[in-house]
């Protein structure tokens, strides 16, 4: 269940991200949908639906390599950090404390406007039509792409890279603490 997007928006975001980062069975590439990239974006835009907000994962270890699994314990924000992230995500909305240097259009609004421009039928369109519509909104496409890359290759705790499919595809082990690497693993081919 998405926390910010409607089901239709979620489907459109997933479809758009799949065009940007498509699956490739021959190479073993998972693609954005399989990796849950839309969940990554949904949890960023809906970060303040959680307490603490899902902005910064906890530390020091994920538990995958030993130690206590603490990435899921998201960090509390200071009042100033909350101000910054609410402004970035929700926009300034005319609130004076958020308009330090003028109004800020938030990510939520940029997504809503971008998805409107892609059209309500976007998820149902064929690939070439989806590409053409994405090319018609280059700024939104660039924003989606930034987030899609984060959602495919960032830590799974943020909602994307489900089951580490992105990392497995490229042979990247991800976080390494507290095990780390032996000296020989560092200097040998």
């Amino acid at each position: 269940m998405p926390v910010f997007f409607t089901d239709a928006e979620y489907a459109a975001v997933a479809a758009a991200c799949e065009r940007l980062l498509p699956a490739d069975p021959e190479l073993g590439a998972p693609g954005a949908t399989r990796a849950g990239v839309a969940d990554y974006i949904d949890q960023l835009l809906g970060a303040f639906a959680f307490d603490p907000p899902r902005i910064w994962a906890g530390g020091p270890f994920s538990g995958r390599w030993g130690g206590e699994a603490r990435f899921g314990a998201f960090l509390e924000l200071s009042p100033l950090e909350e101000l910054a992230w609410r402004t970035r995500i929700e926009g300034s909305r005319g609130l004076p404390e958020r308009e330090i240097n003028g109004p800020v259009v938030g990510l939520q609004e940029r997504y809503r406007a971008g998805l409107r421009a892609l059209g309500a039928d976007f998820a149902a369109c064929d690939g070439p039509e989806q590409d053409a519509r994405l090319d018609a909104v280059p700024e939104f496409k660039a924003l989606l792409y930034e987030h899609a890359c984060e959602g495919l290759y960032g830590d799974p705790v943020y909602g994307g890279n489900r089951d580490q499919v992105g990392w497995r595809f490229i042979g990247f082990p991800g976080d390494a603490q507290p095990r780390g690497y032996t000296d020989a693993e560092v200097y040998r081919p």
């Binding site: 994962a57 270890f61 200071s78 990247f172």
Partner: protein, 570 residues
């Protein structure tokens, strides 16, 4: 008159932490103000490390957990006045705004400067359009302080390995850590071309040291906080200062004003805002500015203080970074190990070819900087480099720009120019309502010529190491603005985190801002403990030198100068 503290320190980075450790060791007390959060140490004894730091590219690289958030604390940049009031607003050379400052995210290469770096004008001569000067202190003056901060931070290195290094009073406290695989290839190729690579002196433990564990090569080093505290800077100095009971650390407190007497010749303390936005004052006998070479002049200019020379904020220097990359036909697993394990210094010592390149360009001399032999960044950054669409998968799979890439970063010497400066942006504000700092900066022709001369050498090394292709780029871009620059204007600002020179040190109050003991000429009880005091940028990372200068300033202030060291015989 009683004061709240004998010393109040602005900023908890390598300079402030070193200063605090020294004065508290000598029995003085201090209050340290830091505008960022404390992710490093508990506030109460025994000062156990917190554990917020982790191997998380999203948090550290893409969501600026260490601060400052550019929405709250924007900076602006322009190349010169022809760009208008500013070319861009956002993240301009931001260093972490957090307890520990720049030490937190650094990959901890800690080279010393060399003897000639302190007398560049005498050694090589002046350069037209640049304010090349000698420092008012020498390498010999600083050597005991270098040795002490190397012990204090815990630096791993091999004192016999760099033929260009100046004399030392002793070896490094720890041996070097393991060589990265890619560095074994690039150092061998460099040696074949007559260069002299050596293990990078690094402030990350190679063996257990100072109660902290050895680095376990996790690979999340540069740009990340160390989850196991194998990095010594700044936790080692901060913790020892706090353990004396004579240092009070106040995070999330932003200094708004330096308070001075009526004649504006003495500092009486500071005014700051706490996390709740309430204003407080602290009175002190001495005020130490250690907010970094960008924030220190910004505060002084905001208050209109210590600027009878008109030079506060001027002679802003970065390092002009020349990035030469090589693509290999096999994987280098650069994600294992510290970010950079080797350096070479050859381009800091002009050889016949460099002298000829200078002559042909009409310059008296050129110098480059240390060359870091290192790996590429993480997979999210790599992914964003490629274009979207079906070509993305093969690129990530083959990883031309990460796992099969090796990178030389040259931290090229940046000549001081009075027109390069930090001042106050006329319109942009920070969250506390203060004018944002603005960098006005354009490299000197020296940097352009040096980069163009040295980049092909670096490319030859990479090809000799087995790379199939190689190319070079610079930050900031040295050519005309391209369409790509317009797409991402933040790329026009220098990416270097080495910010130096905005309150330069000298004996003459008309041509410098602080004296040879790091005290402001205009305000005798105001001191500077960051890289703002640098006279020249050299081609070396600034951290060890700024820490050594901070230690020297603290020792001289408290009347405890370290004994001079002697050049070993032979």
């Amino acid at each position: 008159m009683t004061v709240d503290a004998r010393v109040v320190i602005v900023g908890s980075g390598p300079g402030g932490a070193t200063f605090a450790e020294a004065i508290t060791r000598f029995g003085w007390d201090c209050i340290m103000l830091e505008k960022g959060r404390n992710h490093l140490l508990e506030r109460e004894p025994p000062y156990a490390p917190k554990t917020v730091f982790s191997n998380d590219e999203i948090k550290f690289v893409h969501r600026h957990v260490l601060g400052p958030d550019p929405l709250l604390e924007p900076r602006t940049y322009r190349r010169d006045e022809d760009d208008g009031e500013r070319l861009l607003v956002g993240d301009v050379n931001n260093l972490p705004s957090t307890v520990g400052g720049g030490g937190v995210h650094a990959d901890s290469k800690l080279p010393r400067f060399r003897e000639e770096d302190f007398r560049l004008r005498t050694t090589y001569g002046p350069v037209e359009g640049a304010a090349v000067e000698d420092w008012p202190i020498s390498y010999d003056d600083l050597e005991p302080y270098y040795a002490e901060v190397e012990r204090s931070i815990g630096v791993a290195g091999d004192h016999t390995a760099n033929p260009f290094a100046s004399w030392r009073s002793g070896p490094y406290p720890m041996p070097p850590g393991p060589d990265m695989y890619g560095a074994t290839l690039s150092t061998a190729a460099a040696e074949r071309l007559g260069l002299h690579p050596y293990p990078a002196p690094t402030g990350a433990n190679s063996v257990p040291y100072d109660g902290r564990p050895a680095c376990n090569n996790c690979g999340f080093c540069g740009l990340y906080g160390c989850p196991i505290h194998a990095k010594g800077d700044p936790i080692a100095m901060l913790r020892r200062a706090l353990q004396t009971g004579r240092c009070q650390l106040r995070p999330e407190c932003v200094v708004t004003d330096i308070l001075v007497d009526r004649r504006r010749r003495r500092a009486t303390g500071l005014r700051y805002l706490d996390a709740a936005g309430d204003s407080h004052t602290i009175t002190a006998e001495f005020v130490v500015l250690a907010g970094g070479a960008f924030e220190t002049p910004r505060l002084l200019l905001h208050n209109g203080l210590a600027n009878s020379s008109g030079l506060v904020g001027r002679h802003l220097m970065y390092h002009v970074q020349t990035l030469s990359v090589g693509g290999f036909p096999f994987r280098l697993h650069g994600h294992r190990g510290r970010s950079v394990t080797h350096l070479h210094d050859d381009h800091l010592v002009p050889d016949r070819e460099a002298r000829r390149a200078a002559r042909e360009a009409g310059l008296p001399w050129i110098r480059g900087g240390i060359v870091e032999h290192g790996a590429a960044a993480g997979p999210v950054l790599e992914a964003k480099t490629y274009q979207p669409g079906p070509g993305h998968n093969p690129s990530m799979y083959h990883s031309d720009l990460r796992d099969r890439l090796w990178v030389f970063t040259m931290q090229g010497e940046d000549l001081p120019q009075p027109t390069n400066r930090v001042d106050l942006d006329p319109a942009i504000r920070d969250v506390w309502g203060r004018p944002a700092g603005r960098a006005t900066y354009r490299p000197h022709r020296h940097e352009v010529v040096a980069s163009a001369h040295i980049a092909p050498i670096l490319e030859r090394v990479l090809l000799g190491a087995g790379a199939e292709w190689s190319f070079s780029t610079t930050s900031p871009p040295l050519g005309p603005i391209t369409a790509l620059d317009r797409q991402n204007p933040l790329g026009l600002a220098p990416a270097s985190k080495h910010v130096m020179g905005t309150c330069r040190m000298g004996d003459d109050p008309t041509t410098s801002v602080v004296d040879a003991q790091s005290r402001f000429h205009d305000i005798e009880n105001l001191l500077c403990a960051d890289s703002a005091v640098f006279v020249t940028s050299t081609g070396y990372g600034p951290t060890l030198t700024l820490a050594a200068l901070a230690l020297r300033a603290a020792c001289l202030l408290t009347g405890n100068p370290l004994p001079r060291t002697n050049r070993p015989a032979g």
